[in-house]
Subunit: 678 residues, 2 copies
Amino acid sequence: MRCEPVAEGGFDLFADDRLILAHRPETPSFFLGRGEERMEMYRGNFDIEDYVTARLPLAHAELSREGDDWHIALSARPGDPTLLALKLTQESGRSILSVEARDPSFNRFWLRLVAEEGEHLFGGGEQMSYLDLAGRRFPMWTSEPGVGRDKTSPLTFEADRTGRAGGDYYNTNYPQPTFLSSRGVAVHLETTAYSILDFRHAGFHELEVWAMPERIEVFAKGSIGDLVTAMADRFGRQPPLPDWAMEGAIIGLKHGAGSFETLETYLAAGVEVSALWCEDWSGVRETSFGTRLFWDWVASDKRYPQLKSRIDELRARGIRFLGYVNPYLCNDGTLFSEAEAKGLLATDDTGNTYLVDFGEFDCGVVDFTIDEAAQWFEDRVIGENMLDLGLSGWMADFGEYLPIDVQLKDGADPKLMHNAWPVLWGAVNARAVAKKGRSGDVVYFMRAGFSGIQAECPLLWAGDQSVDFSRHDGLVTVIVGALSSGLLGNAYHHSDIGGYTSLFGNVRSAELIMRWSEMAAFTPVMRSHEGNRPKMNLQIHHDDEVLAHFARMTQIHKALLPYLSTLRDEAADRGWPLQRPLFFHHEDDALCYGVFDAYLLGRDLLVAPVWQAGETGRTTYLPAGEKWVHLWTGETFDGGEDASVEAPIGTPPVFFRQGSSFEALFAGLAALSAPSPS
Amino acid sequence: MRCEPVAEGGFDLFADDRLILAHRPETPSFFLGRGEERMEMYRGNFDIEDYVTARLPLAHAELSREGDDWHIALSARPGDPTLLALKLTQESGRSILSVEARDPSFNRFWLRLVAEEGEHLFGGGEQMSYLDLAGRRFPMWTSEPGVGRDKTSPLTFEADRTGRAGGDYYNTNYPQPTFLSSRGVAVHLETTAYSILDFRHAGFHELEVWAMPERIEVFAKGSIGDLVTAMADRFGRQPPLPDWAMEGAIIGLKHGAGSFETLETYLAAGVEVSALWCEDWSGVRETSFGTRLFWDWVASDKRYPQLKSRIDELRARGIRFLGYVNPYLCNDGTLFSEAEAKGLLATDDTGNTYLVDFGEFDCGVVDFTIDEAAQWFEDRVIGENMLDLGLSGWMADFGEYLPIDVQLKDGADPKLMHNAWPVLWGAVNARAVAKKGRSGDVVYFMRAGFSGIQAECPLLWAGDQSVDFSRHDGLVTVIVGALSSGLLGNAYHHSDIGGYTSLFGNVRSAELIMRWSEMAAFTPVMRSHEGNRPKMNLQIHHDDEVLAHFARMTQIHKALLPYLSTLRDEAADRGWPLQRPLFFHHEDDALCYGVFDAYLLGRDLLVAPVWQAGETGRTTYLPAGEKWVHLWTGETFDGGEDASVEAPIGTPPVFFRQGSSFEALFAGLAALSAPSPS
C-alpha cells in the first residue's frame, strides 16, 4: 500500500492504483471511543447492544516515513496529543496497518475505507443470507444462526418468542471480519473482539471493533482467483479431501445398533455409501425436548454393542464409520470427572467449575486456553476414544457457545476468546488427527469458525437449516454459505440433506429431501441427517421414491470423482473452493455478481438448484463468453443471458461448459441417471 | 438551583437540597456530537435509527458568576475552546439552564442528571405501557402508538409484518420530554426535536436531543401535588369541563341518519346521554379496507339530511351533537381546492401540494406554520362548518403525521415541527372555539400532544386501544395514559369504551365492553365508539345485557357530578388531574409507587378496574393512613395493605375514603345501581 500525504493533516492510502483510504481533517477515517456493551446469551443466541459514551473523530494526522514504512500519528486536532499511532508496513502480498491506541481507556475503534458506487462485497465468514454484503451491516460474533432468520416469518416469531432463537440475516456459526471487494481488494481485521462490517454508507465502508484491533491487513490482486489464493495463503488450507469421502454419501442414522440394519436398506436400494455416521455412538439421554445425545465421548456399549468389531466389518466392505463430538462434557459422564479432577475445566468467578445449561443437563467447558486441556482432549478423547475405536471422522459440533462470563485458565477475556473458540476447537481436532498420522484421511466437519478455521477444519458444514425452502433458513442458504466461506479459502463445504431443524410443526417434505439431494450431488460431500426430530420427520429410507432418487444422486456424485479430484488439486495448489460464485471465473460479466442461488462447481459445471417448493423448472443466468450445455437434454445455451430449463424432480438444473475436458464424463451422467420410468 | 464549583473543572447543581447534576472531568455530565438519523414513516408509524458519528464528552467546565446567574463554559479539555455555553438563571418556581453550542456542526446533545437508587420517574407525556419510567428508555416522537405494542404478541407480529404498525411500549400519540421524580423534582427539556429520556443507567439519567435544546428547566417542590401544579402553571390549563359532558355518556354512532334512531334505543334503555357523536357527519367513502370517513369537513346532506335541524331538535331534549375533524383535507373534497387555491397547503420539494396517502385516498396538509392557514381552518372550517352548524364538540383527530419531508411555508424544518404539530393543531381548535365565545362549553378531544397541549386541549382521549384485555394495548393502558398525562397537567382524560382497533380477527367481547364501561364511569367523561370495524364487532346496543349494564354505569357517572365538579375546581385552582396515581396523595407510602392499574379519582375514590379477562374479583393495594370503604358492600378495609374484593360484572372494585365529605353520595351509588337480579 502506498501512502500519500495530502494537504494539512490528511493522507491517502493506495493499494496498487486503488484508493483504499482517504483521510481528511473534515472527513476523518479514524475514530476512537468508549462503549459499554450489554451481551446476553440464551443457549447460543445473543442479545447484544452497545452504549457508546464517546466517539472522537481523529481529524488530524501527522506522517513520517521510515524506509518503506510509514508512521501515522492521529489526534483530535493539530497540537493535541496523539491518540492513535499507526504503522504501515509492506509484506509480500499484503500491506499491514498496525494499530496502537495511546490511551487504554478507549475500547471502540472505527475505520472508514473508501467505497465505490456499484462495488460488490463478499465474505464476512460463512454468511447464510446474503452473498453480496453491499448495503447491509454484518456483526461478527459466532453464535447460533437462528431458526427462521427472518423477522417477518411466523417461524422466526415463534422461535424468538419461546427462546429468543429466531436469529436474523447476519447470524452465523462462522463469522470472519474479512471481506473481498469487486475492486480486487481484500481487507482483514485482525481481532477476535466483536466487530461489525458496515456496508450501508455511500462513499465509505465502516469497520467497527469493540477493542483495538491488532492490525488491518489489505490485499490487492489482479483477479478474484488470486485474491482467494491470497486468503488461503493467509488463513491456511485444508488437507486434501480423501477419495472415500467423495465416492458416495455419508448416511446419518442415530438409532443405535439398528442403524447398521437400516444402512442395509440404503445399500440394497443402490445407494453409493461412503460412510455410516452415527451421532449417538456415545449414547443418548431422554429429556422433555426429546432424545438428546449423551455428551460423554466414550463409545456406548449399551447403545452400540461390540462397536469396534462392527466398525471393522463395515470397513472391510469399504464403508467408513463416523461419530460425533463437541467441546463440552456432561457432568453426569465419566470424562467430566476426569477433566475436572485434572483442573481442565473453565471455572466461574467463584472458582467452581462453570456449568452450561443445555436443557435438563449441564456441561463443563474444556478450557482450551491451556495446553494440558487441549492435549488431554486430543489424546484421551479424540485419540483413544474415537480414532483408536476406528472412527474415520465425526461432526465436530459447536464452538460458538463460549460463555462471556467464564473464567479462563490463562486469564484471557472471554469476550475476546468467544470468537477465537471455534478455531481453538478446530485445532484440537486437527492436532488429534495429525498425531495419529491420519490428516487427509479422517474427515471431521464443523459449522463454527472464525479467522483461521481454514487451517484447522477439513470440511465445513452449513449448520442447522430449517427443514424448508425458506429464503433465509432453507435450502438456498447452503449455497450462500458455501460461496461466501469459499471465497475466504474454505475449499470444502457441505450440508445436512433435507435440513435439520424441525420446530413448531415445520416438517420435511419428500420434495425437500429430493431437491436437497440433487444439490448435494453437486457439492464436495453428500451427507444425510435425520434431523432434530427424526420420528416426526420423513427420512430417506421411509419412502421408496425418495430412496431411489437419493440412490441415483449418489451414483452421479460418485461418477463426478475424476472431475472433483482435479478441483481438489486446485484447492491444494491455489486454495480455490470447489463451489464458486459465477463471477469467480467471469469477473468482467457484471450480471454474474447478482447471482447468489447458482454456482460453479469448478470452472466447468454450473449448478442452479431448485430451491423453492412446487417448481418444475428454473431460470438462471449463464456467464457470457461460453456456451453451456444442459446436462440432461444436451441443449446448448449461449452465455450472457438467462436460460430456462425444465427441472422435474430427478433432473436438477445443471450445465457444463462446452469445451470442457470433462465433456464426456458430464454427458455420461444423463445416461447414468435417467429417471426410472414411473 | 444552586451552583457549586468543585475541584478543577467540576461543579454541582442543587435544587433545594437535592443534587441534580454532578459534573466532574472524569465523569462528565454533558456531551455534544453529530448524528445522521434515518427516519421513515409508514402511515404514522416510524422506523427511526441514528448513526452517531461523534460524541464528545465535555470534561472541563469553567464557571463564572453574574449576580444570581451562572455562566458555565464547557470544553473537551482545559485550554480547549468552549464548545457549549450554559447559563443558569432562576425564575419563580424553576431554574433554567439555557444551552448554546458554539459550533453549529453539532446536532446531538446528551445530558446526565443524577439518579438515585429506588427513584421513581413519571411523565414522558401520555405513556400507555409504563407509569414508572425507571429502568427503561423512552423516545419522544409523536406517532401512532402501535397495534399490540408488544413484540411477543401475535397481534403485534401481524401488524408489524403487514404494515410495520405493531409499535412498542414507548410509542404514543402524545410524548413530552418532561418527567417528574419521586425526589420532588421535575425536569423539562424545551425542544421539539426528537429526544430520548433514558432511565436505564445506574447513577444517572441520560437525556438525549437530536438538536441543541433551547433550555432545560428544573422544578423542585415540596410535594407531588405542588409539582403537578407547577407543570400546569408551566404548560397551561384546560378550560373547566362543562357539566353537560359529565352528566351522561357521549354515544358514538356512525351509520348516518340512522344513528339518531339508534340513539333512541339507548335512551329507552335508561342510558344517561350527554351527546350523540357522529364521526361520519361529513360523509364516508368506501375503500378496500372498509368504510372510511370523508375528510372534507362539511356536513354531508346525503348522509345526514337536515342535519342542522336534527341537531337543534336533540339539543332541545338536552342532548348535544358532536362531530369529527382532522388537519387533513382529502383531494377529492371541496375544502382541498379552496385551501390549495389560497396557498394554504404544504408543498413537496418541487413546489406541488404535498399529498399524504391514507389508503386509497390522498390528502393535503393544512400548513399551520402560517397564520392565514390557521385562521382559515379556524373560521371557515371549524367556525362556519362545525360550530355554526350546532356542534358542541368533536374528535380533533390526528396531529402525529406531519411528514418529515414536507416543505413548510415558514421554512421550518419538518423534523423540528413534527412534534410541535399536535400543539399547533390543538391551538387551531382552541382559537376557533374561543372566537365564538364557546370555550368551556364546546368539548373537543385529542389523542396527539406534546409540550403545551395542556393549554390547547380541553380533554385528552387515550387513542386507539385494541379491543382486548392485553397488557400493552388493552383496557389497562388507558389507566397508564390518564395517570402519566395527568401528572403533566392534563386534568381531563377519557377513552373509547370497548377499545377501537379490531384487526386480524381480534374482536370485542361483551365482557370487554362492560369492564371498560365500569372503568369509564369513574373517569371524567364516558364515551362509546363503534370501533374501526363496527359491523364485525359487538356494539353496546346489540346486546340487552350490555346495554342495561351500560345504562347503569351512565347513571353512576351522572350521580358523581357533584363530586367531579369539586375536582374540576381543583383542576382550575391547582392544575390537578381528576385521575391521580395512588402516591399523589400518599407520597410517603412507598408501596403506592408500584401501582399502575388503579387510581384515585380525586382524593376520595380509589378505582381498581378489572382489566383482565375472566376475572371475578380483584386485589389492589390501598394507601396507608386511611380506611377505605368498598363501594358495593360497605366493607371497610385498612389502608397499608392489599384488599381483595369480589367484582362480578356490574360491581367494579371501587373504594371511598372513610371520612370523605362525599360519603353519603358514594354510599348512595350502591343503591342506585344494584345489579338487577338475573
